[in-house]
Symmetry: C2
């Protein structure tokens, strides 16, 4: 067994994490993540767009954010809120589609935290998967670039609201 | 295609449900499901026993109920609370093991409701699965007999507390 193979076998990590210090109060970041009128302004990485968003912001409430590519083809993302601590924490998953109805395939759970750092906010998105394979697939789909671009757009939005 | 085959293909149900009218106030049923000292008195179908139970009763809190067979071999059941409405509703799943950490395999989500019916309680356990295959497997493992026996034991317990 080569060292490389051993490393691959030992790779049991199922999480992907994005962290960024953003020059805005955490209340604005929380609003940008929960208010449909704001979500449509930053959610999809350009040149994609976000034509619609619906957020039933309660434990068990569903969330649908519709992204569209350059041809206008729509890709809805449906999930459900799991934990809500206003301005501090938001947890949601695609394992349920609302009121604990299971989705077709549980892929990820997102834990967002907004920590106050003297008026700025330490923004952390921890994206958890049920399998190492799903984490790897998400990484290969471009998680770091995609979530990085979206964080840029989020940063631009909260600077002007 | 025979009618039987068609029925099998059309079987998209992913839920198993147990309903029972129990002659006890719903507060007692809720306690029996959440207090470790009570859970150990009824949870596992006899001759199995329930040596230990731990319940961190909060959204995201973990729950571990240990069952033991006649030889003393232990089978821990670990899950996590998703929604808590005291005396009315309790939702938990084995898809997480606590604080939104994904389990090895999401198998089921249990929605318990306790409805007041003039001092008696309409007790409903809806057990939801992510796939039809898992629902069928759970049924073949003896869901109806097992949960029925447990409901008998629950009924006996709440009659004497």
């Amino acid at each position: 067994m080569t060292a490389q193979t051993q490393t691959a076998n030992d790779d049991t990590n199922r999480d992907l994490v994005l962290t960024r210090l953003i020059d805005a109060p955490r209340e604005k970041l929380y609003r940008a993540w929960t208010d449909p009128a704001l979500l449509t302004q930053w959610f999809a990485p350009k040149p994609w767009s976000t034509p619609r968003a619906e957020t039933d912001l309660r434990i068990g409430g569903s969330s649908t954010i519709v992204m569209a590519d350059e041809n206008g083809t729509e890709y809805p993302n449906t999930g459900q809120y799991l934990e809500i601590v206003p301005n501090e924490k938001l947890v949601f998953t695609d394992a349920f589609v609302g009121d604990w109805k299971p989705s077709a395939k549980p892929f990820m759970t997102v834990v967002l935290t907004f920590e106050d750092k003297g008026g700025k906010t330490l923004y952390t998105a921890t994206v958890r998967h049920w399998t190492v394979e799903d984490r790897k697939a998400h990484e290969q789909m471009g998680f770091h670039e995609g979530w990085g671009l979206c964080a840029n757009q989020l940063e631009e939005l909260v600077a002007r609201i």
